[in-house]
Amino acid sequence: MKKILTVILSAILLIGSLTACFPSYRLTGTAVIQAFGIDLAEGEEKYEITLQIYEQQGPGAATTIDPSVNNAAIITAKGDTIAGAIDNIVSSQSEYPFTGQNRMLVLGKGLAEDDVKHIFSFFEHSRLTRQNIDVLVADTTAKEILQINMLHGILSAQTLEDTLANAQERGFIVRCPYYMLTKTMYLNEGAGFTPYMIKHQPEGAEPDDSGDSTQKDKEVADVDQVLCKQFALFKDYALVDILDEETSKGIPFLYDGIDKRLLEVQNEDGHEAVLNIYKCKTKLRPELDGDTVTFVLRVEARASVEESYMESDYSKPEQLWMEYDDLCTQLVDKETSKAFETIVNKNGCDVFRLAELLQKYEKDYYLQIKDNFQEELKNFKFRTEIDLTVERLGMETEVEET
């Protein structure tokens, strides 16, 4: 009898200990937020919030989720604060907004140019916000990016996330999780960077109004695309520059964030090759010579040949491969140097932990310049030491040992 009572009491206690269920919301009455967009509002209120929520589009399909369409809906609201805008959303519709599954935070360009410091407070106090959500800046408004109708996937937020993942995997960008952005900004007086996303309509995909297009044509016409090959640069918690594609390509090397990268090169004779960096390790270190600090980027990379165009009677292929090595080295040097010059020397943003590197490796010198560090940023020099080896040539080209 004692044991039965103990089991019953334990069961009741266990149920009572499931405290996360108080208060509870039914799944059907919950708006599961997939993406969060913030823009500067027009009018009296300061912020316009756009929430992309999961909305199953199953009716008529074989499953409750129709994989052929975008299972998402958009909710917008305005407010003087982020929490206030969310409150307006709650009061204007029946579902409870749940941010625990949020994947990304999109900042409108206008808001980014104004000031982003104030929006962090909401996310830092919200226990449901994941610190690893992607943060990005939209080329126009966050609302426009979140409203796009993308092909593939059942959720456009998921597709946007996958697009970012692909762009990172191909070496175009480094993804910027929320905690990374706030940490970089906190440590570097409001300097940081995030991927910059551009809404893009594929060529020839304009809607055809003639009325005689096929169903397939219509589908293509309705589909949007996004491009993510650039970075937005912040200083003092505000957007200061949009980096061009070449400059942006240098950042993954400087941040040791290259998983894979294609390098297209062409020599003076017009021979072309595409090399695929499949392994890359980089280290940024300061070198002090008198009063001149040079940051040296050491790159160790392994590459394989992805494509090559050479005349069939070309007599010295081994020389050509060495030439390609040099050309690729020059390309990486050019991209990284441009990124360093633009970000550090021109804009005065320490997003590569230069202060910490100096403190660690050249402590005495750092103590001398510590108080004027921001001014010193424009005087820092940069060079690269690149060790790029093409290891895999493919199956059709035989190269003599040199």
Binding site: L13, R127, N132, M180
Partner: protein
């Protein structure tokens, strides 16, 4: 209540779990404003500080399988009661402190929408049950959970490896010695578990030094690991975080587990439960010895109600919570109970020995 002896390893592993609750919750202490590298050095040095602090206790208990209360009673009955009630109050305070900070963690990081009393009462009921089961049951649970906890810490390291930036571990510029010593002292003063070591030692097989060495080894590894991982991932940004170690869990990006922080919450809950249980049990052991009459099984309930009511009262306001936090972390409890009292008892026992020696001559 069961009072079978447990092994030194079981004891050390259980105490290590109790200690890890305060390590993961308070590292770094939110009042500390030092450079983050100081946290790692401070964690390393605090182990040696504890060894030095415990020197009087080692000398006092080295050749006897007894506890500090018995030693005090050997000196005089009044001193025995003073020391006994001193330890009882210290342990009661730490039990309440655990409940308060567990509730603080749950309400700030996990479930802010619910009443604090629900969190406190459920943990309180589980704690009473654990204390009734006795030290053997607590130690078995603690030893098994310590291994799970260690595995979870290893998982954290594995999944956060790509987020580690060793550049954050840079030389300390501003008052390096002072800041390292300040962190080391902070880490040392939060090691209230050494009071349990001193009081509960008669329930443990083996020598006092052996059990202490095992405990110190485990906690040194745990503290060093938590300090290193939070510093290497967050750098000085960790001072912006209320629960830096929990933040580490939220930045892990796994395709299979998107909310690893939910798994971590379980570690916090079980560690808090074992800690509360251990403190309730110890307070009960002390009360049974100090009261002139027997309360039998009601004594656990009596202690638990005091702890629950005080924690319910304190957790109503962040102001009261921070007062208790400051009081415990300023080191007064540890200095009084782990340094001052053992030192006085050591001196008194040496004097007594010397007197005996003289009278024998």
């Amino acid at each position: 209540m069961e009072t079978h002896k447990i092994t030194g390893w079981q004891f050390a592993l259980t105490l290590a779990v109790a200690r890890m609750f305060s390590v993961v919750t308070y590292t770094p202490m939110n009042t500390q404003r030092v450079e983050s590298t100081a946290l790692v050095w401070g964690a390393f040095i605090s182990t040696f500080m504890i060894l030095i602090i415990m020197l009087p206790v080692f000398l006092l208990l080295r050749n006897q399988n007894t506890d500090i209360i018995s030693v005090a009673f050997d000196q005089s009955r009044v001193l025995g009661y003073i020391v006994g009630y001193g330890y009882f109050l210290g342990i009661l305070l730490e039990a309440a402190n655990t409940l308060i900070h567990f509730e603080f963690f749950m309400q700030n990081a996990i479930v802010p929408d619910i009443k604090s009393s629900i969190i406190l009462i459920t943990l309180f009921l589980a704690g009473i049950y654990g204390a009734y089961m006795g030290l053997e049951g607590i130690a078995r649970t603690g030893a098994i959970f310590c291994i799970i906890f260690a595995a979870a810490l290893f998982m954290v390291f594995l999944f956060s490896f790509s987020r580690i930036e060793l550049v954050h571990l840079k030389p300390i510029i501003s008052e390096p010695v002072k800041s390292v010593l300040s962190v080391a002292w902070g880490d040392t003063t939060r090691d209230i578990e050494i009071l349990l070591l001193i009081v509960l030692f008669p329930h443990v097989k083996g020598k006092f030094f052996g059990a202490t060495a095992k405990y110190l080894l485990l906690t040194a590894i745990g503290l060093l690991f938590v300090s290193f991982i939070t510093t290497a991932i967050l750098g000085d940004y960790l001072f912006q975080q209320v629960f830096p170690f929990f933040t580490i869990a939220t930045v892990v990006n796994l395709e299979s587990v998107r909310r690893l922080d939910a798994v971590y919450m379980m570690l916090w809950t079980i560690a808090a439960l074992i800690r509360v249980t251990l403190y309730l049990f110890t307070a009960n052991v002390l009360l049974q010895r100090l009261l002139p009459f027997k309360l039998k099984k009601l004594s656990v309930l009596f202690i638990a109600v005091i702890v629950l009511v005080s924690s319910l009262f304190v957790s109503r306001s962040i102001y009261y919570t921070s007062i208790i936090y400051q009081f415990v972390s300023n080191g007064l409890v540890l200095v009084l109970l782990a340094i001052f009292i053992p030192l006085v008892l050591l001196i008194l026992s040496k004097l007594k020995q010397a007197k005996r020696g003289e009278s024998n001559r």
